[in-house]
Amino acid sequence: MTTAATREVTMPDSDSDRGRPRLLARLRRSMSIGNASALYLFVLLFILFALWEPATFLTVQNWQVLLDNQAISGLVAVGLIAPLSAGVIDLAVGSEAGFGGILVAWLLADHGVPIPLAILISLIAGGLVGVVMAVLITRARIPSLITTLAASSILIAVIDWISGSQQILNLGTSFQDIATNELFGVTYPVYILAAVSLIVWYFLERTALGRRVRATGGNVEAARLSGIRTARMILLATITCGVIAALAGVLASSQLATGDPTISQSYLLPAFAAVFLGSTQFQGGRFNVVGTLVAVVVLAVGVKGLQLAGAPVWLPDLFNGVALLAAVGFAQYQRSPTARTAAIRRVLRLRLGERSAPA
């Protein structure tokens, strides 16, 4: 290159240029449409369905059920943030949840293992799945997409093998209580989701460890050359995801009072849709916990409202698929301000060029 790379983008200067941003200005900026579009979308959906189906949509019970139902898929989504932040596209996250759910049911019903031990074993098994995937990704250098896709298929085979493709029943009432007992009107999984979210948020956003994980996901070579042991970061992220997904699976089995070998599929896409839609929120294009939680609720409200309005059963799948595409498309657009301004400049230059061309 003979020329200075002059691709600087002139964005409206934020007040962080001079000292610390004032709280009010910061709040206003973080609540802007571009930064928190999901919140506005939520308001929009809320108004829409409140007018459409006021009798069912506006009941307290509706919202309790919605939270209870979404706690488990929210948990899967929060777990997925860790590997995605580290640059690992974990397509096995749904199967990891399914595996945890079937394993705990199998231990309880077929082997009479005490509840705490059965849960512990399931969580450890989930973590081990993460270890194996990290080793394949970092040591065998198989791309994460392939590793996790294959792992997902293998896990589904294991699930069917353990369960004999049958539902596992008779898990015991005290196990069912875990996911169905209520505190202040909502079930325990909601609190578990809140606690796990807080922990993941703290590590990812506040600690040096989280910074290293995100650097690994941002540019693995640059992270490595900055002295970060990137393989360890990937290992940590996949273990975290494996454990959290297994926990979600355990809660699902508890909620259904059944070890269901077919639940894997239903957690994969909603989790991806939520995390990617969440990444467009608050943090300017990075995977983040708060955005993910907001996205989980927004997507759930969308699905719920449509269901109440009598939409067909295939609609949630359609909704989640479209939402994932829209979220990623929007994230790409948002993430590349250079591409955007370049496009504008191209148009402007074309106009200017026409004008300045000799007649």
Binding site: T2, T3, D17, R206, A208, R212, A215
Partner: protein, 525 residues
């Protein structure tokens, strides 16, 4: 188009016919004039060489010809339309054919398949290909250029010169009419010396068929061997144009480098203890290299691509794993390929490619700054104290004159120069004993360049040992107190004091023998 076709001129006249005319071409990028009023004419059967240092405007000229950039108003590029008339260059760049350094071949496909890629297959896309006919055609095409190659073998198995010939054959194959100009952009970088002549034979055959050739190279012996005329660019301007045989090496070098070489401030003489010592180091492109750098010293590494110059810093830092040899920093041995230990012992490495290796563009300036030294940040309950980190980021933003001084912006939104300043700052923040720099000002504007030089010299003044690998002779002459000449993976000479001038460095680099090692894809892994 209604005018009658001109009578075909006599043969001698046909060879003088201009195929490409570039007049008063300029290109301004924000802040810099990359190309300034360059005019050029290429006639049929003529080979015109364009030479110049890094930053002289060669690449800009090529990109203008290729239509990647638009020239400033007032300049014009005209090409022959096949009937002897010159018409403005169309947006599709027809009439001009480019062979770039990387050739644009698909290595896993055979010669035949590569040749077919450039050809419209018409309606045959659904019918089976006639394989034998295709192979025979490909073999005939490449034989025209003196290459007897197995057209069924993947091009990855061919020698660099054979690959270049395949690329030329492919470009030629697509020609609609004989009035064409072939632009060869540093085609011989990856060549063995004895292979260069094979390519040159092929190029002469193309010229003999009536095409015009633009040949861009930094090797003066090649330029003199091949070119009918030489155009010399310096700082974007056309400084000389002469017939190929007229110039000797010395006058070419003077024309390329210029006579008014401004020498930088002489770096303080090295007085500190030895910080880095490298003994018999071996690794990719490095073959038993020995050197030492003292505290406070800025030492340059000069050498052509493939000489080992571009690998040495990565080997010392551990980004590439050396096969043998000993590296010590301040008396401590560095284990091979262990960057974490290298950083702990005071090493810092600014790689050449900041996008791929230097920084995490999606993270903010602040987060990039503190990445190598996260352990040193003040914490509360295990969490980084954001206010302390922000204060530090602002301090460094001032220190390196970051524009705009907004540490919380994603690094991708800064200009190249400011990004590079951040990459440098993140290592200066760790107070390194040893600072390893690869092409520290590549793709950086003039202002940022000055700031980077100042920061590097400050670091040296504070006792860092600095090793700079650069392909920019001016940079080495300005920045370094001592420059090591690297060739064939070893140190073959040293320039220091009054002998260390841009001219001397350029002369050493321009007359170095080709190393014969293909530059693989640049990678720190």
């Amino acid at each position: 188009m209604t005018a009658g076709r001109p009578v075909p001129p006599p043969d001698e006249l046909a060879r003088r016919r201009p195929l490409l005319r570039v007049s008063h071409l300029s290109k301004t990028f924000i802040g810099t004039k990359a190309l300034d009023d360059v005019s050029l004419e290429v006639a049929a059967g003529e080979v015109v060489a364009i030479v110049g240092q890094n930053g002289s405007g060669k690449s800009t000229l090529v990109k203008l010809l290729a239509g990647i950039h638009q020239p400033d108003p007032g300049g014009a590029i005209e090409v022959s339309d096949g009937s002897g008339r010159l018409v403005p260059l169309g947006r599709d760049g027809s009439g001009l054919h480019f062979i770039h350094q990387d050739l644009g071949l698909l290595p896993m496909l055979s010669t035949t398949e590569n040749l077919d890629l450039g050809r419209p297959l018409g309606r045959r896309w659904i019918t089976p290909l006639h394989r034998n006919a295709e192979h025979a055609r490909a073999a005939e095409l490449t034989r025209r250029f003196g290459a007897a190659i197995d057209v069924r073998a993947p091009v990855a198995q061919l020698s660099p010169a054979e690959r270049a010939i395949v690329a030329i054959a492919r470009a030629l194959d697509g020609w609609q009419h004989p009035d064409n100009v072939l632009v060869l952009d540093e085609p011989t970088t990856a060549f063995h010396r004895d292979e260069v002549s094979r390519l040159f034979d092929a190029v002469r055959r193309v010229a003999a068929e009536g095409a015009g050739i633009i040949f861009i190279s930094h090797r003066l012996d090649e330029v003199r061997a091949l070119a009918d005329r030489v155009l010399i660019l310096r700082d974007g301007r056309q400084v000389a144009e002469s017939a190929g045989g007229e110039l000797d090496d010395a006058s070419l070098v003077t024309a390329i480098v210029g006579t008014s070489v401004a020498e930088g401030p002489p770096t303080a003489a090295a007085t500190g203890p030895v910080v880095l010592s490298v003994d018999a180091l071996r690794g990719r492109h490095v073959h038993g290299l020995t050197l030492s750098v003292r505290a406070g010293e800025v030492v340059g590494l000069s050498g052509v691509l493939g000489s080992g110059r571009e690998d040495l810093n990565a080997l010392i830092f551990g980004a590439q794993r050396p096969t043998s040899g000993e590296i010590t920093v301040a008396g401590n041995r560095l284990p091979p390929g262990d960057m974490v230990t290298a950083i702990e012992r005071g090493a810092a490495f600014v790689p050449a490619d900041r996008h791929r290796h230097g920084a995490v563009m999606t993270m903010s300036m602040r987060e990039n700054l503190t990445l190598p030294g996260l352990r040193g940040l003040p914490r509360r309950f295990g969490a980084i104290r954001m206010s302390a980190e922000s204060d530090e980021a602002r301090r460094w933003a001032r220190q390196v004159e970051l524009r705009p001084p907004a540490p919380d912006r994603p690094l991708s939104t800064f200009s190249g120069g400011n990004q590079q300043k951040v990459v440098l700052a993140k290592w200066l923040r760790t107070s390194p004993r040893l600072l390893l720099l690869d092409e520290p000002t590549q793709g950086v504007d003039v202002g940022a360049k000055a700031a980077i030089y100042r920061l590097v010299q400050q670091a040296a003044a504070q006792g860092s040992a600095v090793l700079v690998a650069s392909s920019d002779a001016k940079e080495l002459a300005t920045l370094c107190g001592r420059v090591l000449l690297v060739d064939q993976g070893q140190v073959t000479g040293e320039l220091t004091g009054a002998a260390l001038t841009e001219t001397a460095l350029a002369h050493a680099a321009l007359t170095a023998a080709p190393t014969g090692r293909a530059p693989r894809e640049e990678s720190a892994s």
